[in-house]
């Protein structure tokens, strides 16, 4: 898969008889003859001839993404690091056990309310904003979560806007009352779970060393029973020590999670548990095995909420093409316990992503960052067919460790483009319902 997904042209990529054009993320099915001729052309590396062929096929269009960076974008989402402390001791944690390399602290209520005020300051009727709570472990400071949520509901009512909420938690402190509150406000609740039983316990122990899996599953059970408006999902950080994704996915979906997604550990502050080339290659195999199970289930008319492939197929279907990997530093910002703004939740306390404070976004810093982070300014992205799907990779990971996962990302997207064409042919209704 990695060999088949290697970049041969910046303008086109082939997945069997499926043509992917980065410009507009357009997907076409080719007949065998056209596909085979184009494959040979891609093999030649003659970019000019490739572009000429695209013109002949009538699929050339002016570039849809230029070099212009996003500038002073409206704010749509904030994440509050309501507790820069944690009761777990995960060695790979980007937040360094919750404290981001500083002192343990909770976000004071006034800072949280100022952040909510900032989020709603320029919101127009009918618009949607998202408020998310992260940490550390956010439930250490649940009073502030509740107050900030209620304030956001109030402001949304006043402005005729819609507020959505999300929280990422380690699940160890969850109570039934939390569940009822999250259900009331339709939270997207994400639990960090790195595997089933021992695999999880080895990576996500309590600070005292005991495993946390049993506690989390027990706590999650009541939320899973309660979920109607809220969605309780699991997010798995993949390290070289928990690579059995197929089993993890099946096990967690079996527990009743709304969806399950995987994310590789590419840069940890200690270097601990980072994925190397071999581990990423093994992960890709596992991801594709999970994807193939997804395809089987979808074709059989079942729901199988493997987040990574569900999201990829939806984005490919829309033809999402963008010069950034995510909304970080643009419509989405992170807020530290002290009220400092950062490009996202991972940049809390990191000068590299500083963007002002809850009093106001520092537009100068923000715009400079957005100009710098545009995918046209990244290498080796300019020659890669996946650049507008990937957007150059997670800013935080890239700044910390460089682009170490390009083969993995391309291999995954290569698989997803093929899966897209297969699912679209067999179950076009899946996209209608998605």
């Amino acid at each position: 898969m990695i060999a088949g997904s290697a970049p041969r042209s910046r303008s086109a990529h082939l997945v069997d008889d499926v043509l992917f054009l980065p410009n507009g993320s357009r997907v076409f099915a080719l007949d065998a003859e056209t596909s085979s001729a184009l494959d040979a052309l891609l093999g030649s590396g003659d970019e000019e001839a490739i572009e000429q062929r695209l013109r002949e096929l009538g699929v050339d269009v002016p570039p849809l993404i230029d070099d212009t960076p996003v500038s002073s974008p409206p704010l749509h989402a904030l994440s509050l690091a309501v507790a820069q402390k944690c009761n777990l001791g995960c060695t790979y944690c980007y937040a360094q056990q919750g404290e981001f390399g500083g002192a343990a602290k909770n976000m004071p209520l006034d800072v949280a309310l100022d952040a909510v005020a900032l989020l709603f300051r320029d919101v127009a009727p009918g618009e949607r904003v998202n408020l998310s709570f992260l940490g550390g472990e956010p439930l250490i400071n649940r009073g502030v979560i509740r107050a900030a949520t209620e304030r956001a509901v109030e402001l949304a009512g006043e402005r005729g806007a819609t507020a959505t909420f999300s929280i990422t938690t380690n699940g160890t402190l969850l109570t039934e009352q939390d569940g009822a509150f999250f259900e009331q406000h339709g939270f997207a609740v994400t639990l960090s779970i790195d595997g089933l039983g021992a695999a999880h316990d080895a990576l996500r122990p309590f600070k005292g060393g005991n495993g946390s899996f049993g506690r989390i599953v027990e706590n999650a059970a009541s939320l899973l029973r309660m979920q109607r408006r809220m969605q309780v999902s699991a997010r798995v950080t993949v390290t070289p020590h928990n690579l059995d994704l197929r089993e993890t996915l099946g096990g967690l979906l079996g527990l009743g999670f709304h969806s399950v997604g995987f994310s590789p550990m590419l840069a940890s502050p200690t270097g601990n548990a980072e994925m190397d080339e071999d581990a990423l290659s093994a992960m890709l195999e596992q991801m594709i095995a999970c994807g193939e199970e997804f395809e089987r289930r979808v074709l059989a008319g079942e729901r199988y909420a493997f987040t990574n492939v569900v999201n990829a197929l939806r984005e490919i279907h829309k033809g999402t093409h963008r010069p950034y990997p995510c909304g970080a530093g643009a419509g989405y910002l992170g807020v530290s316990a002290d009220g400092e703004l950062a490009a996202c939740h991972r940049f809390v306390g990191d000068e590299a992503g500083a963007m002002g404070s809850v009093a106001d976004v520092d537009r100068g810093k923000q715009n400079a960052w957005l100009a710098e982070r545009h995918v046209h300014r990244q290498e080796p992205c300019s020659s890669c067919w996946a650049r507008y799907l990937c957007g150059g990779g997670c800013h935080h990971e890239v700044l910390a460790r460089g682009r170490t996962a390009c083969d993995y990302v391309r291999g995954w997207l290569h698989y997803c483009i093929g899966a897209y064409a297969r699912v679209l042919d067999a179950r076009p209704d899946w996209f209608g319902a998605a």
Partner: protein, 278 residues
Amino acid sequence: MKLTPKNQTAKQLLHRSVGNPPSTLPDQAISNCFPGLEFDFRNVWRRIFVGITMHEADSYVVHVEEQEYASLLHCRILKVDGHDMTTILRGPRVANGPTVDLATPANPDAAWFMEWSNSISRVLDKAGSKVTCVFTAEPSPIQRRPDWPDTQTVELEIRRFFEPDTPIIARDLVDPGDLTQSLCSPWQNDYRECACYYWASSRPDFVDVEADSNGLSAGFNWMDHDRSLKTPVDERVYLPDPRPRTPTDPTFITYDQLFQEWQTVLQFIVGGKDQGEE
């Protein structure tokens, strides 16, 4: 078939099928839809009420589909859900004159129907339910003011505008062919009549355009008789109709010429340039 567009970006906006002209792409399209060279958007409003058909740009009931609404035929709609559909046209008759009702013999009430898109948007959230509508009691060939005393009141259902959860105009709002009714008719008078500001953003009326010595665009009105490519670029002037170049010069192609000699006075414009000239 060499290739088949699969996803939304490939299908919707950017794929130009072999044989289709550039004007089928959005950045080259005429994009003129009111009343339009490509389609006439106003026609979406004709069936906005279940059971009757309205004029696309007027308060007039042109057809009645359901017998219970028979009394509405050729009447004028005055109010929908409490909102006025017409207004009184007021302003000065002469520069600096007093503001008065602008009545005319053809429109003694000075009543003016307000354009559907704006008038009806206030009640579109009630699509699928019935709202109170006030009409003139009798058929009326002329517009009537919103406080016209002699009225009839009926409850009419407003159709939804979109198919649910899609950007598709609801299928029961427009029949096939509706949107291309009432287009401008270029082969009749409409090209001659189009004031320059009415032209589509792609400005097909601005031809033989090149950059002049100041770097600005210079070219001709395509209806201008004198649009020789031999004219130095700096001397090419776009004249808005009907301004004459000289008092006696028939600057523009006339109606008669357009009807009788269109194939001579008009040329194919290829690549923005008049053809047939060395």
